[in-house]
Amino acid sequence: MKEMTFTIQRFDPAKESAPHRESYTVSVNDGARVLDALEVVRRDHDPSLAIRSCCRAGQCGSCAVRMNGSPVLACMEEAADGMIIEPLELPVIRDLVTDIAPVLQRLATILPSEVAAGLSREEVELIKPLRECIECLSCVSVCPALKVTDFAGPTAMRQEMRCALDPRDTQDRITEAIEKGLFACTTCHRCVEVCPKEIEIPGKAIEKLRERANRAGLTLPRHRAVAELIERTGRSVERSAATFLEQVPEVIEPDGPVKMTIGFFVGCMFNGRVTKPALDAMEVMKRNGIRVVIPHEQVCCGSPLIRTGQTAIVSELKRKNIEAFTSRGIDTVMTICAGCGATLKKDYDTPFTVMDITEILLKAGYELPAKLPITATYHDPCHLLRGQGIADPPRKILEQVVERYIPMPAQCCGAGGGVRSGQPEEAAALGKLRGEAIAATGADIVVTICPFCEFHIQEQTDKPVKNLASLMLEGYKKKDQAKGGD
């Protein structure tokens, strides 16, 4: 037995206007789950505490709650001293019980067929990963798109794709999925992160449905325009002034001895629209003994096409990019765009290692810059945080560059998944939420590593949004100035 104190959000809408928190100290068995601790509260402190649970084995999805801000199944997650337990971010019936039935009622259903046709092994294997959903609605409760649109939610898309994959299905799931908000998903992957069954809804359902929509000629016109641009120019953005690739040589030698040689994949945004952070990053490499090889024939990684279901030419782009690096004998490729990085790591099968700039710097070691006299917060790009699992490296570097770092909870800015081009109002609404979160931190600047986030968030905040590499370079310059002044 052990004692623990923890907090529960209590709320009875019939009696209170707003939720309040209460703390309880309970004695629980070793290895007790959150649900066990809640049941002890019910038994020993307050029998009126409303919780929902059934199977106690992670199979029915009744008991999802938030533990320290993130959804968990109460029956499977180990209870911890000091934990804060809240209901899912859904309409609350009472205490930890939320109103999930209306969402479930709207999930797509297959019409019964006349004959009992068995499925083939291959068909079963395709559907299975989408079939494990226990309808706990954790995904629905965290989805950023749902906060600003009437998107039916991640699991609704999973169910549409599950139907679409079934040879027995007779309905038009594409139109249905579009009506339910197929193009609202920013592919931020927050749903996968909280799913107790780790169902890859964006990759296995949403992007696949968008592919089917594409084959049916239902791709959004703005998405189609991007695809046409890539087909024509190999790039997803129109060039404004001189591109990054036009400004740099094929090989950038470092200032001092060579510690490491890497290939550099620049990505369309840094190549064509915001070249400065990429050029700054090259300076940072130079200063830290990293030789950078930049194949000039590299093209768009294909991410804007994959996210929007326009995959016809993706394999061609992949081939070109992979060849550009392998033909030069590169074994490590650096990305500085979160989206390109996630795509190269997850959608490509590369014969070389792909690393984000922060990973490269931490691996190679880097000279400490001077600390800038500012307060900064950090915005996690979804495709870095969840797409590549990188949370700490940028924070570690940032803390060395600025006087003060203030954390900010991660949430999608709304730029990804083709939403900025396809559903600009939704993107702006999500960006606005980020703007508010940034203001709440009180930071002077916001730092990020994704050109899409950077560009998009800047429209919704009066604080400067900066790339981490640019900030490092500022730190180096300050250091040099200080030396010069000695």
């Binding site: 009126s48 259903t109 019964p112 009992a116």
Partner: protein
Amino acid sequence: MGAIEKEECHVLVIGSGGAGIRAALEAAQYGETILIGKTIAGKGGCTVMAEGGYNAVLRTDDTLSGHLEDTLKGGAYLNDPVLAEVLVNEAPDRINDLLRFGAVFDADTTCTIAQRPFGGQRYPRTCYAGDRTGHEIVMTLLERLRSSDVVIRNEVAALELAKDGDHVSGAITSTRDGEIGAIAADAVILATGGAGQIYDISTNSTAGTGDGYALGYRAGAELIDMEMVQFHPTGAVHPYDARGRLITEAVRGEGGILKNALGERFMARYDPERMELSTRDVVARSIATEVLEGRGTERGGVWLDVTHLPAEQIEERLPLMLEQFLKFGVDIRTRPMEVAPTAHHMMGGLRIRPDCRTTLPGLFACGEVAGGVHGANRLGGNALAETQVFGRRAGEAAGRSEKESRRIDPDQIEAVEGRIAAYAEGSLRPSEAVARLKRVMWDGAGIYRDAASLTTTREVVLDLLSTPLFAASGPEILDAWTAGNMMLVAGMILDGALLREESRGAHVRRDCAVRWEVSASPYGHTFISPSSRGIEVLRRFP
């Protein structure tokens, strides 16, 4: 009597697990059907938790008679043979219904549903979807349910069956917050599942509190073989709060082996022929004996080992087991599982005819709440089949019922309200009562039984039953009511166990010498109703 919410319909289905949903889908073809359940539809019953599979004869080299013989032999010939025959005959049709509804079972190379071996069966006839077969069935049924005309009332509990004379005419209900209501119906189907929660160690969901047995009994229906409680051989042992959690029979079906603390593959001592794939009663007793005789683990279990199987087989066929154990810090690909028996399934229940009619007019029962199909021991894989076969039958028969008075007796509502009002004056907290009940039932009415311990346990239960329960707020009312149901059902199990002075299937009386082969037992069903109780004697004693 205050103003209460009243509804009416043609068929009222109580219980929203696999059997209840199947029944409601069928009944809705005949008239307005309301489905109520203590939980959100599909989430509460044990169907969604069922892991291993669904038995059906699908291949030409398997036979219906073989399935029937296995079922009767596994049931120690206490099964109602007609019900068992219905089960095996219709199981293939009902799995085909599920296929038509869109179920995704694992398939073999010829687009036929894949099957695996389960205990006590001569042929590998257990259909599956990995180790989440019940979940697959429930998801399929929910898809149908959501696009049907069935009116779903989530988180509404039935407190009492309403009666108009002898006829069951609906139910008196309660919301989560203890608000009383009534639903009148021409016919009522009980599909409330089992009562494993009566035991301290159980696989059952929190909803498995035996409400249907209690409701049926109080309304005057007859129940049979309530002493027949299946202890699943393999429940989790650790951590303490997860004790009893089901470790599917599919683990043994896939080749898992059982070892005691000395490393001996002990099943060789108890059933050398079938080994780990013996019937559940035999395996559960073998494990219990190993532990009792000091060859168990420190925590009182034995080892269930799949580490000799290829990792891919475990990942593909037992993904849920792998995931659950990982969550508790054990990688079953490299370490054995610690297991011990756990209360799992009630073979007994309301006496039904093949069309699921109970002994009360207007009342039907299907799924675990009904008795007779499995006799004294259920074969793994026969329960999911039962939910579908008898769920459909109950729905059809209830649907074909004549229009009745649909009268709810105000006196009955008043009685319910009176009982609830009395909770304010009670002294025993429901949670305390239930905790005590679970412990005494595990100790006194578990795998091994004798008259002395059953009698002592019965006294404790009667004592609990006569102690007024306390409930202060709305939500506690349901807790108290449920606790009352659990005690009543515990009493029925004990009465049945005392009445049956023989060892048969899951019921082992250590104080009764075995004088006959189970197939030649003079005893038939035990029966319990408010007006009579006893045991059927079918033939002369030897």
